[in-house]
Symmetry: C2
Subunit: 396 residues, 2 copies
């Protein structure tokens, strides 16, 4: 018989997807150029030519049996080594291949990280605003997800709230920096303080507390600032990554978990992940794509468009009187709506064919998310429409 | 803290993998040509040139943003349509794209099928000999896996055993034809009787009972006989497939679940599968590989080597006095060992550098599995060694 648990999940439709579908329907009615769709976080730039060249080379020159054979259940050595070396070079870590587990994107990376360091019934803490899928991911692992407020003036962690919320049942803290939807980049000061707080709590409660760091936007940062590497600040860290954004490969579904070598029992994680894969039905990402990624491990797509778009939107929103924090990275911006009810605000914007997502889904009602992974010309064209919308609806 | 459930799973090592590792170690000692490794089911033939050409064409000519963009969570329409049309043409079904869900290989297909039609605590029935991973897959979905004996003279289903085992808690029956490890192809008569039995049990118990059909070897059949399509014989069937074997793409991890359009609530399955994916952290297979597979949907690698190898091994085993059923498909053969203890039999064989897997892992102690996805020259070279082993150990 049909499983009732999953049947009930069908009722909780994704708001983001629903708005995106309305934008798509509207495009069919009035044409692409008249619709300003800021709903979806789908990378808008092509992958690096190096990736395409690597795939062509592999398909032209590698013997097919070798290229497409089963990778070991822990992934291909060359991929795992390339990731380890790259993270070591960039962030001064000391990973080996034995700390890297390839996954089908960040979703699978998080599914493995959650299950490795928690048990059903434990609590996991994250911070608003947060990626809405953290809820079903936590529920599926049997976890209680506690969402704490951030400092709304800069979206950094509210440490008083964290201090108060910690209890013996908290097994993991989940962060996402650069953050979807706020665009905040956690500073070294934030990460240092977080690491110190978790160290103290580990000692106090007498058990490990893991930091699960979701980092798909790691390479998209602005104003010349880089994302400090969270694992550098706290030994018990699992870094979850996807190449979807940095290499503009969202459909290819490749990512990894990197286990800090200084973590408790760090050597057990890769074997443990293979058992989690057996349980969830996960498979290693495609062998050929693992190999191509290994060859271009330090490359990215040309990500400069996101900073140009951020600048345009931030300036426009600021001038229009929005309360808005300048994003440090990602391709999102998260201003406060011009009325308390962000759902109503977004509904009114849709009358102008402006599609944004209310912050309610991200755990911050009253805010709205704009995804600006778009051609800059589209952002430029949207700004006068945004001005008209704000003027007509909120300034008269 | 480290999850104790997965930690305990680490103790249950795969016997197949352990034997394969011994073979690998031995190769390093005495050289590839002196080791006869029948342990692993890793396809030995290259993929069809059509697949390579399709990938090269996509990477050369498709715009990268389009090629690598997120596929919808239900998969790419062109892949789902290609699968539906192909199954309709070949088996007289009437699938549409809305009955096809792309998965990362058969493992993920089974993970989705299990969770869709059972609830934790239900019972699922399968038949020995069976693929050992069915155990952890069932346990992870919270199911009780009941393994029934087959008819040992032909490996078809023992219907008396099935009739007796059915009870109100059985939500699904799991079959694997062509079968790993026996090589049996369930006949139309077997599938018809199975369908009738399940129909009757559905009426008797007043609820749906689903047939989950694991079919990665569907295209590898011998003696001019084709595998009758199980879903044709029973409406409540979920067909789980992987292109690993037919297209020799095991490392690319692409497969699907096909939902019989006549199944109860057949329209709910694809949305339900997306919820299961959210819960397990599953992602659609790679977009580019979905597209290439769609283009070569009716092609296979050159699979004739498996039949040649089967013929050689079957004849040799038969002549050496083994009780052995001639496989109808796959690249496995499953003779009875020459002593009651198949583990001891395989240990002795390893002294001759012959690597086989005892049937104990497959739920049939006393038998052994030989995987002959090897060059025919390797099988030919192994036969005199097999003869020497049998003569010296069991005929003196």
């Amino acid at each position: 018989m049909i499983n009732e648990h999953y049947r009930r999940m069908l009722e909780g439709r994704s708001v983001i997807r629903a708005i995106s579908e309305r934008a798509t329907a509207r495009r069919a009615e009035i044409g692409e150029r008249n619709v300003f769709d800021f709903s979806l976080g789908n990378p808008s730039v092509p992958t690096t030519p190096g990736f395409t060249e690597a795939m062509l080379d592999l398909y032209e020159h590698e013997p097919a049996v070798k290229l497409h054979s089963y990778s070991p259940s822990i992934g291909l050595p060359e991929f795992r080594e390339a990731v380890a070396h790259s993270l070591n070079r960039r962030f001064g870590m000391d990973y080996t291949a034995n700390h890297i587990y390839p996954t089908s994107g960040a979703t699978a990376a998080l599914a493995h990280a959650f299950r490795a360091v928690t048990a059903p019934g434990s609590e996991i803490i994250t911070f608003a605003p947060f990626f809405p899928e953290y809820k079903p991911y936590s529920e599926a692992a049997g976890l209680k997800l506690t969402v704490l407020p951030c400092n709304p003036d800069d979206f950094q962690i509210d440490f008083d709230a964290l201090e108060q919320a910690m209890n013996a049942n908290v097994q993991a803290v989940l962060i996402n920096t650069p953050n979807n939807p706020s665009g905040v980049v956690y500073s070294a000061a934030t990460l240092k303080r977080l690491g110190e707080l978790l160290e103290a709590k580990q000692r106090y409660y007498g058990h490990s507390i893991f930091l699960i760091s979701d980092e798909p936007y790691r390479e998209i940062t602005f104003d010349g600032i880089e994302q400090p590497y969270p694992s550098k600040f706290y030994a018990n860290t699992l870094s979850c990554y996807s190449f979807s954004k940095s290499l503009s490969l969202p459909g290819e579904r490749i990512g990894y978990v990197a286990v800090n070598p200084a973590a408790d029992e760090s050597d057990i994680f890769i074997p443990l992940f293979t058992q989690i894969s057996r349980a969830t039905g996960h498979n290693c990402p495609s062998s050929s794509i693992q190999r191509a990624c290994a060859r271009v491990i330090d490359q990215t797509a040309d990500l400069a468009v996101y900073e140009r778009n951020m600048d345009l939107l931030y300036t426009a929103l600021h001038e229009l009187g929005f309360e808005v924090v300048r994003p440090g990275g990602t391709f999102y911006i998260f201003p406060k709506a011009l009325e308390d009810d962000a759902v109503a605000f977004c509904e009114k914007a849709m009358d102008y064919d402006l599609f944004m997502v209310p912050g309610d889904s991200f755990g911050m009602p009253g805010y709205v998310r704009l995804a600006y992974c778009l051609d800059t010309s589209k952002v430029e064209a949207a700004i006068p429409v945004l001005k008209r919308f704000v003027t007509e609806q909120y300034m008269q």
